[in-house]
Amino acid sequence: MAAALCWGAAGGQRGLRALMKCEMQCARWCLITSRKLYSSLYDPNEKTFEKLLIANRGEIACRVIKTCKKMGIKTVAIHSDVDANAVHVKMADEAVCVGPAPTSKSYLNMDAIMEVIKKTRAQAVHPGYGFLSENKEFARRLASEGVTFIGPDTHAIQAMGDKIESKLLAKNAKVNTIPGFDGVVKDADEAVRIAREIGYPVMIKASAGGGGKGMRIAWDDEETREGFRFSSQEAASSFGDDRLLIEKFIDNPRHIEIQVLADKHGNALWLNERECSIQRRNQKVVEEAPSTFLDPETRRAMGEQAVALAKAVKYSSAGTVEFLVDSSKNFYFLEMNTRLQVEHPVTECITGLDLVQEMIRVAKGYPLRHKQADIPINGWAVECRVYAEDPYKSFGLPSIGKLSQYQEPLHLPSVRVDSGIQQGSDISIYYDPMISKLITYGSNRAEALKRMEEALDNYVIRGVAHNISLLREVIIHPRFVQGDISTKFLPEAYPDGFKGHRLTDLERRELLATAASLYVTEQLRSQRFLGTQRIPIAKSKRSSWELSVRLGDGVYPVAVSKESSSFSVEVDGMKLNVTSEWNLASPLLSVTIDGTQRTIQRLSRNASGDTSIQFLGTVVSEGQEICVIEAMKMQNSMIAAKTGKVKAVHCKAGDTVGEGDLLVELE
C-alpha cells in the first residue's frame, strides 16, 4: 500500500508502473522456476538486445514480454487509446500510444510505430502474429533504420507471401505440392490422361470460376469424362475462358503443420508437427502436438521437406510449413507462415524450447544450439482457443462486453494460459475476440485431455459469451478422442449446429441433486445471523426438503435430506450423496456426487431461486426448483418481447453499440 500513497491523477501512471514492476519481479521468478514448460537454457552472459518493441497487443504481446523479462531485455509496448489499460501495456517497461482504436490507425500505423521506435531507441521489434508480422514493407523500413526485425528477412517474407511463388519454390525444393494441371484440355481422353497422372480422386473445374463454384469430383475415368464435359461447357459458356483446372482432390483432409526454426548460418530444424484440423470457418479452434495421425516416417518426411523449403528461401527465425494430409497419409504443401504461430505453445510444451527466446537469439545472429537429434517429443499438449463468442451460432459469433469476472485455471497442474486480458477488461469490437489460449500438458494424450476437461470446468469467464461449452464437447467427442478428425470435423459432428451438452440420465440426476442441494444450502445459510440477537432467532430444525425441480419440460420431485456434512438426495427413486464445501462466494464449486467429482459454476441467482449453472461446460438455467436447459441463453439476436409500435430508434446503421445501450423503444 505504500506505493499507493504517492498516487495522483498526474502521478497515477507512475505509481501504477512502480506497482506493476513489483508484481512483475515475482512473475519473472515464477516463470523461471515453476514452469518446466521451457527447458530452453538461458545464458545470462550471452549478449542480447537491450530494448525490444513489441508491435502487437493482447496475449502474444504478453507472451513476448514474458520471455524478454526472462532474458533481461527491456520492453516497449505500443497500444491504441482504448488499450491504455491493457495487460500488455502494464507488463511492459514502457508503453506508447500509437493512435485510436481502429487497427489501421494504431497497430498497423507504420509511421507512428517507426516514430516510437526512434523515440524509445528500441533495438529490435517483435511483430507477434497478425498485424505487421508478415509485412515486408515494415521489415524493409526497420532494416533501413538499422532496427532488427525479429523474423525472417524481407526476401523470405515476400517469397512465402506470394501463393504462386511459394508453390514454385516448394516444387523446386522437392516439397510435395498438390499435383494439378491448369490450362486448355483438348478432349475427354486428355482429361483422363491428366487425371491418371495426378491420381484419383481429382477435382475438375473451370479455371476462371472462383472458389468451389462448378467444382466436380471424379473418382474414376468415367466420372472424369463426365466432369470434363460439364466443366468445359461451363468454362466456355459462363466465363468465355476454355481453361480447366484439374487438381488432386484431398479427401477428408487434415491440417497438420511443421514448426521450423532456422538461423542465419544455414542451420534449420523441424520441431515436430501440430495437428490443427479442428477448425470453423478456416479458423483453428483446438490444436495439439503431436498428431495422432502421423507415424515417425511421415513425420520425418514432412519435417525434412519443411526444412528443405526453409533452406531454399534462406529462412531464419521461427516459421511454420502448413500441409494438408489425406486419409492415406499423403501430404501436400499448403503455405508457409513466416511468423510465430498462435498455436506455438503446444510445440513448446513437447519440445521444451522457448520459441520466442530462440527467435530473439537468431535475430541477434547466434547459431542454433540444438541439433535435430536433440528435438524430443515429450508427452502430449493440447491447446484450446477460448473465444468471446457464442458457439451456438455457426460454431461461434463474436460477442463483446466487459469481463466482470475472470479467473484462469492456473491452480491445476500442467496448465498454461496465454492471455492478455484480466478481470475487468473489455472485449471490444475492434480486435480479435480471443480471450486466451488454454494449454494442458500430459505424459500422454489421454492425460492431457483429462486435464483440459478439468481446466475448462475451472475456467471462470463472466460478462461475455464464450465458447467453453463447444471446446469441452469437442475434446470429449468420441471421434476426437479416437483421433478421427479432419477439417470438416465440426460440421460433421454437429450437422444441425452446436446445441450444447446433452445430459445423460446419470448426469441429469447429478445436476438435479446438485441444484437441489445448492438451493437447500442457500436456504439454510439465509437463516444464519451472527452476533447476539435481542429477539432470539427461531432455529429451524428442518432436515429434509421435498422439492419439485423443473428441468427442460419435465418436473422432477427431488427429496433432500441433510446428514451432518453432506446431503442425501433422492432423484428418480435413486439416492445420491452430495458433498461439497458449499462456499457460496466462490465462482467455482467443487461437488462430489456419489464419488464423482464435478466442478460447477453458479453464474447467477435471484430471490425467486432462479439460478443458472455451468454444468459440464454448458450453461443450465435453473429455477429455484427449475432447471431449464437454456443452452441458447447467450444469443445476441434481438427479439421484441412484445409487439408494439417503434417509438424511437436510438442508433443508426454503422454505430457502435455497447451492451445495455437503448437501441429501439417500443410503445
Binding site: 491523477a9 444464519r528 419439485s548 418436473v555 420431485p557 430471490a607
Partner: protein, 586 residues
C-alpha cells in the same frame, strides 16, 4: 354462489379439525353439505389434478396463470407431497375454498394468490400465529348484519411469524371479502399488530389488496384509516415498515403504503391511486387506464411512489423474504450480520481500470458496487427512477450496508430534484436503522436549467444535504472521479462528518470543471490556463493535503478498506443535539 371463505380442509391454524372449527360452522347447512361432498371427492381422488378439473369445473379458468408460477419449494415441501398435486398442494392448506368461490377464481384468473397463501409464502413454514381470527365487522346497516355477510376475521388476516427465523408482524388484506375494504374491525386488527410490533421492536409488513373504505360503515371506516396512519407515523423510524401492494389500492388506502419505509408493487395486478380513472375522466376529462394512472410501471419509473416492482405475487413475496434479511428488526438493533463466505480482504483488480481515462466518458457505477459487495449481491431500491443516483442494500463482510452512488452512465451522474429526493429518503432510512452508509461519488454538480430551478432544486437538493449531514451512522465515502462544487459537499463529504473519506487516483475535487473555471478566472484569455487548472485541481491532492480526504487509495483495495473501516466503526457513537425533531426542508 358465494361461499364462506375462511374454513378449513384438514386442520386449521387454530388446531381445530374441520367439523369442529367454529369458522366451519358459520356457513349455511346446504353449503356445508356441498363442500363436504367436494371434500370427500377430493380425498377420494387423492388430490389429483384431473379430479380437480372434473369436480371443480371452475378450475379450468385458472389452470393457466397459476401453473405459470414457479411453485416454491418451501411450500410444496411443507404440505402433502403428491406427485401430480403440485397445483393443489401449493398453498391450499387453509384457504382452500377458492376453488369453488367466484371471487377467488377471479383472483386466480388474474394470477393472484389469496391472502393466506401470501402469508404462507412470506413466512417460514409453520411459523404463523394468527391474531383475531374470530373478529367480525360491526356494521348493521344495509343488511350487513345478516349471517351471510359476516365472515370470521373480516377482510384482513393478521398475525406474526418468522422470516428466516426472525420475527415479523404481518397483515394481509383479503380481496375476497368485500373487496378487501377497510372496516372498523379490519383497521382495529391492523392497529393491534402494529402496536405490538412497536412494543416488541419488530418490523411490520403489510400485504395490501384493498378496494378502499367500506362504504357501508361510513365514518367508522375513515376513523380506521386514520388510526392506521397515526401508527404508521409513530412506528416510523422505530421499526421498519414495508408495504407490498398486491392488488388495487385506492383512495385513503394509498396513504398507509406511502407512510411506510418501502413500497413494493406487483406488475400488472397492483395499482395505487388517489382517484380512479372514472373520477379522473369526470374531473379533468383525461382518458387514462388504471395501469397508466397508477400501475407498477408508473410508480416505479415516473412518480417514484413505489420502490420496486416484481413479476408476480410469488416473485414479490420471495424477494421480500430476501429483502427482509438486510433489515434490522428495529432502531434498537444493529444492522444484521449474515454468515459470509466472501473474504473481506479480497482485492478487486478490475477497479484499477474501471474509470475511463477520458473524464467525459461514462462507466457503470453498478459495476463498482457489484464488484465490492459480498458475492456481488446488491438489492437495488428504485432501480428505474432517477437513475442518475443508485441506492440500495448490500453486505460487506456479512454486515448490511446502504450504498449510495452517483451513476455516470445516466445524465453524467448529476444531481437533480428526483435523484436528491430518492437519495435523501434512502439515507434517512439507513440512519434511522443503524445501517452504515457507503457513498461513491462521481458527480459533476447539480443539474442546471429552468425546469430544475422552477421545480425547486434548491429545496430538494437541500434534502440530500440535510440527510447526509444529520446521519450519525458510520459513513464511508469514496470519490471515484468528479466531485465538483456544491455536489461534492453534499455527497457525504468530510465536512458533513464523514468517517472515512477516500479518493481514487482518478478523483478530481474542484469547484467546477476546468473549462468553466478557466473562463471565469481568465475570461478565456489564457490558452494554457486550462492545463494549469487541470494540473492543480483535477487530481485528489489538493483535497488530500487539506485532510478533506483521508487517503488516496488504490481502487482494487477498496473492498478491503471498507470492510476494515466498518469493523472499527461498528462501535461508533455520535449524537445530534437534543431536539423535538429536525426541520428537514420538505
Amino acid at each position: 354462489m358465494f361461499l364462506a371463505k375462511n374454513w378449513c380442509i384438514e386442520k386449521c391454524a387454530s388446531g381445530h379439525f374441520i367439523d369442529s372449527c367454529p369458522r366451519w360452522l358459520s356457513p349455511k347447512q346446504e353449503e356445508k353439505e356441498y363442500l363436504q361432498q367436494k371434500l370427500f371427492d377430493r380425498y377420494l381422488q387423492k388430490f389429483s389434478y384431473e379430479s380437480l378439473i372434473h369436480y371443480f369445473p371452475m378450475t379450468k379458468y385458472r389452470e393457466l396463470p397459476f401453473l405459470n408460477y414457479t411453485v416454491p419449494g418451501l411450500l410444496v415441501s411443507c404440505l402433502n407431497p403428491g406427485p401430480a398435486s403440485l397445483l393443489w398442494t401449493s398453498g391450499h392448506h387453509w384457504a382452500h375454498p377458492c376453488y369453488c368461490c367466484w371471487t377467488c377464481s377471479a383472483l386466480l384468473v388474474q394470477g393472484k394468490l389469496t391472502a393466506r397463501e401470501r402469508i404462507l409464502l412470506l413466512l417460514d413454514p409453520d411459523s404463523f400465529d394468527e391474531y383475531d381470527m374470530f373478529v367480525e365487522h360491526r356494521c348493521a346497516d344495509f343488511g350487513m348484519d345478516s349471517d351471510k355477510n359476516k365472515y370470521p376475521g373480516d377482510s384482513v388476516v393478521t398475525g406474526r411469524g418468522r422470516i428466516n427465523g426472525r420475527l415479523a408482524y404481518v397483515f394481509s388484506q383479503d380481496f375476497t371479502v368485500f373487496g378487501g375494504s377497510l372496516s372498523g374491525a379490519h383497521a382495529q386488527k391492523i392497529c393491534k399488530i402494529m402496536d405490538q410490533a412497536a412494543m416488541v421492536g419488530a418490523p411490520v409488513i403489510g400485504l395490501n389488496d384493498s378496494g378502499g373504505a367500506r362504504i357501508q360503515e361510513g365514518v367508522e371506516s375513515l376513523a380506521g384509516y386514520a388510526d392506521i396512519f397515526l401508527r404508521n407515523v409513530l412506528c416510523s423510524g422505530v421499526v421498519p415498515q414495508i408495504s407490498l401492494v398486491m392488488g388495487p389500492c385506492a383512495g385513503g388506502a394509498v396513504y398507509s403504503p406511502a407512510l411506510t419505509d418501502f413500497t413494493f408493487m406487483v406488475k400488472d395486478t397492483s395499482y395505487l391511486f388517489i382517484t380512479g380513472p372514472d373520477v379522473v375522466k369526470s374531473v379533468t376529462n383525461e382518458d387514462v387506464t388504471q395501469e397508466q394512472l397508477g400501475g407498477a410501471k408508473t410508480h416505479t419509473a415516473v412518480s417514484g411512489v413505489a420502490h420496486r416492482a416484481f413479476e408476480n405475487d410469488i416473485d414479490a413475496l420471495l424477494n421480500l423474504r430476501e429483502f427482509f434479511n438486510y433489515l434490522p428488526l428495529s432502531n434498537r438493533d444493529p444492522a444484521p450480520v449474515c454468515e459470509c463466505h466472501d473474504p473481506s480482504d479480497r482485492l478487486v483488480p478490475e477497479l484499477d481500470m474501471i474509470v475511463p481515462t477520458e473524464s467525459t466518458k461514462a462507466y457503470d457505477m453498478l459495476d463498482i458496487i457489484h464488484s465490492i459487495a459480498d458475492e456481488r449481491e446488491f438489492f437495488e431500491i428504485m432501480p428505474s427512477y432517477a437513475r442518475n443516483i443508485v441506492v440500495g442494500f448490500a453486505r460487506m463482510n456479512g454486515r448490511t450496508v446502504g450504498i449510495v452512488g452517483n451513476q455516470p452512465k445516466v445524465a453524467s451522474g448529476c444531481l437533480d430534484i428526483n435523484s436528491s429526493v430518492k437519495g435523501a429518503r434512502f439515507v434517512r432510512f439507513c440512519d434511522a436503522f443503524n445501517i452504515p452508509l457507503i457513498t461513491f461519488v462521481d458527480v459533476p454538480g447539480f443539474l442546471p436549467g429552468t425546469a430544475q430551478e422552477y421545480g425547486g432544486i434548491i429545496r430538494h437538493g437541500a434534502k440530500l444535504l440535510f440527510a447526509f449531514a444529520e446521519a450519525t451512522v458510520p459513513k464511508i465515502t469514496i470519490i471515484t472521479r468528479k466531485a465538483y462544487g456544491g455536489a461534492y459537499d453534499v455527497m457525504s463529504s468530510k465536512h458533513l462528518r464523514g468517517d472515512a473519506n477516500y479518493a481514487w487516483p482518478t478523483a478530481e475535487v474542484a469547484v467546477m470543471g476546468a473549462k468553466g473555471a478557466v473562463q471565469i478566472i481568465f475570461r478565456g484569455k489564457e490558452a494554457d490556463a486550462e492545463a494549469e487548472y487541470v494540473d492543480k485541481f483535477a487530481n485528489p491532492f489538493p483535497a488530500a493535503m487539506r485532510g478533506f480526504v483521508d487517503d488516496i487509495i488504490q481502487p482494487s483495495s477498496t473492498r478491503m478498506r471498507i470492510c476494515h473501516d466498518l469493523d472499527v466503526l461498528a462501535s461508533k457513537t455520535q449524537s445530534n443535539p437534543w431536539k423535538k425533531h429536525a426541520n428537514i426542508p420538505l
